[in-house]
Subunit: 395 residues, 4 copies
C-alpha cells in the first residue's frame, strides 16, 4: 500500500480548508462492499441520502447528487439553466469565484464580473445596481460564492437576495456553497436561491468525489428551455429516477455510504450546533492571529469565515516557505495562497470533523512554524485561542 | 450504519457485470485518511496511478482520470474532439452503445447509427462501407463499444481498425472499454485507437466513481480545434498539471488510493494471466448454460465475452422473476436485461476480483434459482463448468 | 502490509472448522479506535457484550470473557473449581478432548479418560457407570466436548446430564462448546451445565483472541474453596467489576467491539434460524460426501456435526496432499487431520458466517480437488448438495 | 455499530498511558480476513513477528507471544520459572508493582516486598542488601517494573543488574516493560534480564490482547524444573512450534497482523529515534506542568518517564473531577490515580503513535480543563511546552 505519510509517528493534521479530516465512521462506511446499484438495498440508500441532503441544504426541493468534484457541480448549475451566449453576473470575491467565471466563459456565456479586492464579500449594492441597469433583462443569472475558500470571506446571501428583489429583476440566483454547506448556516429555500452548488469534501466530512445541486422550481422550469448541450449533468435524467432512490448512470456507491454516515453525524449533532461550533473555532483562530500580530486577509467586518482563516504574511516573507516548514517539522498541511495571493497568504482550515483540542494543536503548529521559519510575530496565539475556547462549552 | 444486506449470514454474491466485487485490499486502501491534494505525497500518488493506467491501457500516451462515472468519460471523449453538428458513426451493439448514441445526440452531434440485433459485435465491413461512402470526409469519428455489457458480446477492434485503414478515411476511432479494461486484452496504442473510454467499477475492481480517457496524439491535436463547450472534461487542463501528478480540480483522492492498489494487484497477476483467467471463467460459464439447455444471447462466434454471459429466458418466463428469486433465496445479484432486452435475459458477471470457487458458487445459485423459479432447464450446469475448470490450472 | 494471500485474484475460502470467515461488519467494528477501558463508553460496551453472551449461552448466570484463546478458557474452568490432585472424568472423543485431558494432567489433576474411537460422541452410559462406581464421590468433575472439532461428532449433553442425574453423583459438569456455540443449539442453564467453555473464532464469527466461561451457581460456590493457584483466570476478580461493565485488567477492547457486532448479527438472525442454517449445511455437505462415495468419519447416528464434516481418505491416499492441491489450485483451506487422524482425514468447515452459495463453492473445490489429486471418487457431490439445498428456504 | 464517542465532532484524545492511540495503518492491518493458522501464509507471519519482537526487546533469545493481556504475561513469567513456595523479591514502585506482587501471592509464592513511596524508582542498593542478606540463596527471583505506569517513574534496570551482580546472588531478574517497550530504551540481552514482560497496547501501538515474555537461557533452563502448574503459559509448548512460525494453540491472528505492521513502523522510524521522540515529549510535558505550578509525582531525579507524566492535584482538589471535566468538555481521556493515589493524581500519556501537535492539543486540554474545573494553576503550560518542542527537530 502506498505510504501516504513520511512522518514516522502520529496523525497528520490536514488543516487545509478542504478536503477536511474524514471521520473514522465515514471512512469505515465507505469501506463496505459495493452493492448492486439497481437492487432494492440501493434504493433505500438512495432515498436516504437524497432526503438527508435536503435537510442539509434546508430545502424541500430536489437535490441532485453527482459522482463528480465541485467543479462539475458548477458546470451543472450553468448548463442546466442557460443557453449559449447568455449573460451572467458574477462577483470577484476570490480565486474560486474567478475559476467559476472562467468556466462560464468556456461554456460560451457572457460574464459581467463585478470587481473585488479578494478581501471583502459580495457587494449586494453593486449587484442591485447592475440589475437595475439591465433594462433589457439580459442578465439570466447572478452567481456568487457563499464562503470564498481562497480568502476566508463569507458573502451575505440574504443581502444579495434582498438586493435582487429590490431590483425587480428576474435573474436566477446561483450560490456556490462548496466550503460553507455543513459548516455555515445556509438556507437554500428560505433565501430563495435557485441553484446551490456544493461538494462532499468540506463540511460534509467526506473524501472528494461527490457534488451537489439544490434546485428551485424556477431553475427546474428554466432547464426545459436552456440550450447549452448537456448529458452527464442533466437534472431531468436524475429526477426521472431519483424518486425511487436510483440514478440514471452508475453512482459512486461507496461514497454514498459515506454520505449516509456523514448525514447521520450532522443530524445527531444538529445543524445549529454544527454552525455554532464552527463560529467558535473561527473566533478562536482569529484571536490567535491577532495575538501573533499578523493580519487577517478578510476585511469584511461581518464576513469572517467560520470555516477557514486566511493570514497575510509580513512583507518579505514567503507563505509557501512557512507552509513547507510546518509540513516538514510538524506534519501539518496548511492551505496555500491561490491565484494572485500565491505565496502571500496561508490558510488555516478549521471546518468539518474538528474539535477544540485539534484546533489548539493546529494553532500550536502555526505558532511554532512561524518561529521555526523566522517569521516576525509575537508568541501567545495559542494562549489567546484557549482563552476564547474556555468561554463556551466545547460541545 | 446502513444495513446493506438483509440476508442474515454469509457474503453477498455481486454477480452483475459491474460494479464488481471489490477486493478487501482495495477497500482498505480507500479507507485511509484523505491527504492534501496539492502536497508532495499526493504528487507521488498521482504519478503512480497515471503511469499505472498507461500500462493497463497498453499505451505510452496520456491517460486522463476523471472523478466521474463512465458516462462522463463518454461525454469527455466527444466534447474534447468534436464540434457542434459534427457527424459521428456509431454501431448499435446493445443498450450501452444506444446510450452513448443518445448522449451524442444530446450534445448536438449528428449520429449515423449502424443497426444491430444486440447479438453480434460491430460489423467492421459496414463501417468500412460507410466510410468509403463518405466521400466528403464528413464523418469525424467512429465510436464503438469493445465489450457490450448489456449483451456479453465483444467487438473485434483490430478488425474495425483495419477496416478504417482500408477505407483511407481519417475519422477518429473511439472505443468504449468500460467493461473490458482489465478483463479482456485491449491495446490502445497498438490498435491505434484515438480515444479509449473506461471506468473503475469493472475489471479495475474499484467502486464506481472514477473514469478514464486514453488519448492518441491525433485526438489531442483535434482538441485544439474542437468547439463543443467544455470545462470539467477538458483534457488540456488535466495535461497541464498531470505531469507532476496533480489535477486541475479536487480529485477523488480516496478512490485514487484504491486505484493504486488495484493497479498493483493487476501488475502482480500480470495482464496476460488476468485475461486468461477471464477467458476460462467465460468458457466455464458457457459450458454451464449449454448444459442447462438455455440459449446464450451472443451469436457472434468469436465474440463471447470473457467478462459476462447473457442468457435468454425460455419463452414465457420472466428474467426479472428469476433474478428476484435468486436474490431473495441465494443472496446473489444478477444483471438485468436492459432496454429492449428487459425481462428477456439475465446476465452473469464473471469479471474482476474472482476465482474458480466463487464462479462455482455463482453458477450453483443460477442453477438452484432456475429450479426454484420453475424455469425449464436441465440440471448439470455446475458440473459442466467444473469439468471445464478442471482442465487448466486455477492460477 | 503483509501479503496474506498468494492467489492473484478472488477471495480465499477459509473452510477450516475455525477460525471461520469473519464478516466484514465484524472486521470493521474491530477497526475502530481503541477507547479508555475505564471510561463510561467502555462500561456500556462491557455490559452489552456480557449480557449478549448470556443470551448466546442461553443462561441467566454469569459469563466470563477472557482476552485469551480457547485453551485458556479450558484452563480457567479447571483452576477456578478444582484443587491439586482432584479427580476428573473425561471422555476421549477426539483430539481436542485429548488436549484438554493433557492440560488437566499438567495442572496436577488426576484424570480418568473414558476411551473412545474418535468416531462417536460421549457414551453417557459409561459416564453413569463411572460415577456409580465412584462410591467415595472422588470425582470432582465430568468434562466433555460438545462438538469435537477434530472429528465432526456432536455429543449429547442432555443425555450426559441425565446420566449424571441418575447416578446421584454431585460432580460438576463442564462442557467445551468452542466449536458449537453460535452454531449448534446449546443451553447452558436448561441443561444444568456448571462450566461451559467457548471461544470467539468459530460460530461467533470473530478472529481468535477471546474465550469464555459460562458459570453455574454451584461452580461459583466451588471457586471459593478450589485450591489450584490462579490469578489471570480468577472468576472472582472478573465478577467483582463486571457488574458495571469493566474488567480487572486490560481487556481486548477491539475484539470486544467485534463481539458486540457479532452478537447483534446473531440476535438479528435469531438463534433458532442460526442453528437450522447450520443443520441444513451439514446435511448438504454429507449428501455431497455420500455422492462422492467417500466415508464420513462420524459413526454416531444422531451425532453428525452441523458445524463441520470430517471425511476419511480412501486407503493409500494422503489427506494432506489433497489439502495442498486444494489450497494451491483453488485457494481454499480445509482442516487437517489431527493427532492419530493426521493425513487420514480432511475436515470441511461449514460454520459461522456462511451461506448456500459459499457452501456450493466449497464443495466444488473439494470435488475438483479430489479429481486433481487423483483421489478415487464419483462426481456429483455438488449436485447432491444442491438438491438438498433446494428443499428448504435459503434464508 | 456501537457508538463509541458521544462527542459530536472531532477525534477523541486518548491520553491515558495505554492503551494508546492505534495508528490507522495498524487498525487496517487488523481489519483483514483471518487466515488458517496452520497454513503456509501464517508461518511467514509468525516468523516475521517473532523475529521482529526480538529486535524490539533487543535480544537474540526467544520471545513468547501470548493471546492475553499483560497480566497474563506477568503470570507466565512466574509459573514458567518458579515452584510453589518459592521466595521472590519485589519492589513497591507503585500500583502495578503491587498488583504483580498480589499475583505472586496468589500463585503461592512468598514475596518480600521492598517498600517504596510510589514517587521513586527501584532502590538498587536495597536489592543488593536484600540479596547479600539472603545467605541461603532462598530468593529465586527479583521482579521489578521498568516504567511504573501508575506513577510515571522509570527504574534504572542496569543499576539493578549491577547490584545483583555485586551481590553474587544467582536470582533471576524479571522486568515488567509493559509501558516502556517501544517507548523507552530497553535492552533485554545487554542488561542480562532473565524474563521481560510486556504488552501490546502501549509503545507497540496495538489494541490490547497480546502480551510477551522475552526469555534468557537461564530462565529457559529453570523452566525445566519449575513446579508451578502451567499449561496455557508454558514456554516449552510455544518454543516447540515457534521455530516454523506456528503456535501450540490458536493465536490471535488479526492482532498479529497489527503487530506485524507496528513492528514495520518502529523499524522504519528506528528505535533510537522512537526513544528520543518520547524523551522530548516527556520533557515538554514536564515543562508544561512546571509552568502550571503543579507538582510532578516523580521525585526520582533521573527517573522521569518519557511515556507518561503523573501530576499531583493541589490539596483539596479532586483529580477525578478534573478528568471528568476534561472528558466532557474536551473529549480527552486522562489516566486516573490508582490504588492509594486514587483521585490524588492524573496521568498524561504521551507515548505510542504521537507527535508534537497532538501533544500540544493534549496539554491545551489539560490547561483549559484546570481552568474549567477551578483548579488553582498558572496559565502558560502549553506555551512552555511549545518552547521546548521548538528546540529540537520534530523528527
Amino acid at each position: 500500500m502506498l505510504a501516504l505519510n513520511r512522518h514516522p509517528s502520529g496523525r497528520h493534521f490536514l488543516q487545509i480548508p478542504g478536503p477536511t479530516n474524514v471521520p473514522d465512521r465515514v471512512l469505515r462506511a465507505i469501506d463496505q462492499p459495493t452493492i448492486d446499484h439497481r437492487g432494492p438495498a440501493f434504493g433505500e440508500l438512495g432515498l436516504a441520502v437524497l432526503s438527508g441532503m435536503q435537510a442539509i441544504f434546508q430545502t424541500s426541493g430536489p437535490v441532485i447528487i453527482y459522482p463528480a468534484s465541485g467543479t462539475g457541480a458548477w458546470e451543472a448549475a450553468l448548463v442546466n439553466t442557460l443557453s449559449p451566449g447568455d449573460h451572467v453576473l458574477m462577483a470577484e470575491t476570490g480565486h474560486f469565484a474567478s475559476l467559476w467565471r472562467r468556466l462560464a466563459d468556456r461554456l460560451g456565456l457572457r460574464v459581467t464580473f463585478l470587481p473585488g479586492d479578494w478581501r471583502h464579500g459580495v457587494d449586494a449594492g453593486a449587484i442591485e445596481a447592475a440589475l437595475r441597469a439591465d433594462a433589457g433583462k439580459d442578465i439570466a443569472a447572478v452567481c456568487v460564492v457563499h464562503n470564498e475558500t481562497s480568502t476566508g470571506v463569507v458573502s451575505d446571501i440574504p443581502a444579495v437576495r434582498a438586493a435582487m428583489d429590490r431590483s425587480g429583476h428576474g435573474a436566477l440566483l446561483m450560490v456556490d456553497t462548496i466550503s460553507s454547506l455543513g459548516s455555515i448556516d445556509y438556507r437554500h429555500e428560505e433565501w430563495r436561491v435557485d441553484v446551490s452548488v456544493s461538494g462532499s469534501q468540506k463540511g460534509l466530512m467526506l473524501p472528494p468525489g461527490l457534488s451537489f445541486n439544490a434546485v428551485s422550481a424556477r431553475a427546474l422550469a428554466r432547464a426545459e428551455t436552456a440550450k447549452l448541450p448537456r448529458a452527464y449533468w442533466d437534472w431531468r435524467d436524475m429526477l426521472g429516477v431519483n424518486g425511487k432512490g436510483y440514478f440514471p448512470y452508475t453512482p459512486a456507491t461507496n461514497l454514498l455510504y459515506g454520505l449516509h454516515e456523514a448525514i447521520e453525524m450532522l443530524r445527531a449533532e444538529g445543524l445549529p450546533a454544527v454552525f455554532a461550533r464552527h463560529r467558535r473555532h473561527g473566533e478562536a483562530t482569529r484571536a490567535a492571529v491577532q495575538a501573533w500580530g499578523l493580519e487577517i486577509l478578510c476585511q469584511e467586518p461581518d464576513g469572517h469565515s467560520p470555516a477557514l482563516t486566511a493570514v497575510l504574511m509580513p512583507e518579505g516573507h514567503s507563505a509557501d516557505a512557512l507552509r513547507k516548514t510546518v509540513l516538514e517539522r510538524f506534519d501539518m498541511s496548511l492551505g496555500q495562497g491561490l491565484g494572485k495571493l500565491t505565496d502571500r497568504i496561508f490558510r488555516i482550515g478549521h471546518l468539518g470533523h474538528f474539535n477544540d483540542l485539534t484546533l489548539c494543536g493546529t494553532l500550536a503548529g502555526v505558532e511554532m512554524g512561524l518561529a521555526a521559519a523566522g517569521v516576525p510575530h509575537r508568541a501567545g496565539g495559542v494562549a489567546a485561542a484557549m482563552q476564547r475556547l474556555a468561554q463556551a462549552p466545547a460541545v
